[in-house]
Symmetry: C2
Subunit: 347 residues, 2 copies
């Protein structure tokens, strides 16, 4: 008999939590016997529909995880720090979409297309990588497997939905204010709770998350460190510049790579991606075919195009990688991890 699972979603009313519930309802391949939708006390008591039935949102407490098999966390790092181990203690496997445990050496950081096998070494918690990292490594792993990978330089064009529902609203309100020639005072972007706020409407902000001591932002350091951990290779050179642009959903990335192997062509790179899992090649410049944030939004795949050889370095290639940051970049990757746990009989 097929096993069936009790799944909890922590942060059920957030931008990512909402997507998780939708994917559990429509896309997940494992059997679900029960769901628990958990949140802060503020949203507790609200009702959500799930497969035709009403589910009352409950406040997330240690006891909420009694009987839960899979707990999907996406309610901020502090909630994960407070409750993930409580869930594990009660027998759940936690799939954590915050940055709380990503760099913990005892916690696997997983993109199923890249390092599914790392799941076997879990100790109860599995971390879901940062959105901008996931789409990049999903697109680059098939290239790395075929030709080796020596270096990555990425500049991102990130959507505001990564900052949550209120950031989307600020982009919309700020855009309308500019169009109507009205005043608008930003209060969220680039980083909720940081000292200064700047307009994201009709602007580009080279700051995502706060700055670290080396003048990179945390977002940039996440891309650098997580890529090495997921690819299980600390020798890959990775550098990142992370930029927020006025897009609602869909992160785009301009990526330069250097492969190890000699004599690789742009065509070889395209062929490596053509049948890669979770990757869609959209690369036909003659017909103006290339990935775009608006066309990737709502889709689960990672889209790659504009693949071309560097003019000066025979091992260098440029490309344009786009994916829905709330789906493959967050909710969908978490559900995929759950599917992998079931498929590999880890749970």
């Amino acid at each position: 008999m097929t096993k069936s699972y009790h799944v909890a979603v922590v942060g059920a009313t957030g931008a990512v939590g909402t997507q998780m519930i939708e994917l559990l309802e429509e896309a997940a391949t494992f059997k679900i016997k029960q769901v628990s939708f958990l949140s802060s006390i503020r949203s507790a008591g609200k009702k959500l529909a799930f497969r035709g039935e009403e589910v009352i949102i409950q406040e997330a407490t240690p006891e909420s995880f009694e009987g839960v098999d899979i707990a999907l966390f996406s309610a901020g790092g502090s909630v994960s720090k407070a409750l993930a181990k409580e869930a594990v203690k009660r027998g759940a496997i936690v799939i954590d979409n915050t940055s709380a445990y990503r760099m913990d050496p005892t916690v696997p950081l997983v993109v199923p297309e890249v390092n599914e096998k790392a799941l076997f070494s879990h100790n109860g918690i599995i971390a879901n990588p940062n959105c901008s990292t996931i789409q990049m490594v999903a697109a680059l792993e098939p290239i790395r497997e075929a030709f080796g990978l020596n270096r990555i330089i990425v500049s991102t064009y990130q959507a505001v939905s990564g900052s949550g529902v209120s950031a989307i609203q600020e982009l919309k309100d700020g855009s309308r204010a500019v169009l109507d020639n009205k005043e608008f005072t930003p209060q969220i972007m680039p980083v909720k709770g940081d000292k200064k706020h700047y307009p994201i409407a009709f602007n580009a902000l080279p700051q995502i998350d706060v700055f670290t001591e080396n003048d990179y932002t945390y977002e940039e350091m996440k891309m650098i460190n997580e890529t090495k951990k997921i690819m299980e290779d600390n020798t890959i050179k990775v550098s990142a510049t992370c930029v927020r642009i006025p897009v609602v959903s869909g992160h785009s990335e301009s990526v330069y790579i250097e492969v190890d192997k000699d004599g690789v062509s742009a065509k070889d790179i395209q062929n490596a991606l053509k049948n890669a899992p979770g990757v869609v090649l959209e690369d036909d410049p003659a017909n103006q075919v290339y990935p775009q944030a608006v066309s990737a939004a709502g889709k689960k795949e990672v889209f790659v195009g504009r693949i071309r050889a560097d003019i000066d370095d025979s091992k260098g290639f440029h490309m344009w990688i786009v994916s829905d940051n709330l789906l493959k970049g967050a909710a969908w990757n978490s559900i995929q991890i759950a599917e992998s746990l079931v498929k590999l009989a880890i749970i």
Copy 2:
């Protein structure tokens, strides 16, 4: 007695022409005895104010340039091809803001802060570089002078105003349609007259200008070739990915460079830029100070920030370069060339 000049503006009603006229009126340091505002027959007859007097726009013909000393062209490549040599024949020096003559080896391609002396070798036509190139070389030249420059990898975040007045309108109309949940069919972006058109509102388009045979766009090849020509060094490795984003004015650029010299620090790079002509250092991450498109709009300088050492390559540095693409990227650089011609007594 100070010389005084008859200045013609070709393309007087365009996005750049309008800025040129404003700068001639308010900022130019040379004396102007007469202006001619020229356009296609469509705008001929319209009136523009200049220093309190009415100037009637005239159709640009070969005869329009009789008596003209300085002719500023910004009406598209075909107009420059048709009329620039006619102007030179009649004694004018042409400063051409189109791509028509930029790579002509007999035509100097000039950013005054970088290669003003190239003006001495002019044969009547001087080319104004592409907007995205100008701001990059203005920021990188002081670094190159101090430490040498081996490599540039740039990803751009370009404003729509580079595509003209109708593109700005399309961004505004498209944005409002999205906010109002209405249908909108783009007809201009990414490239006027190309086969397909895509929304620029809340999107990022990795295509500026049409594609060339090597799958780079013309815009990307302009940045690559023009940088080498302006810096008078064909050995510098340059690669570019050019992307249009929903910003009205102000191009931003994520730039990675490798210097020649050993032991250079991010602080050294900052110091090289601190007093560089036309460059403003805005680089204080602890206080969230970095260049932004919306704050650079309307200003003549090139703004540089987010300067930091690459983590893996001791000669590598990252930075964020922003400037108003219609001013330093076009109109202001043209006026500066005219000022240099006067200052160097070439005219």
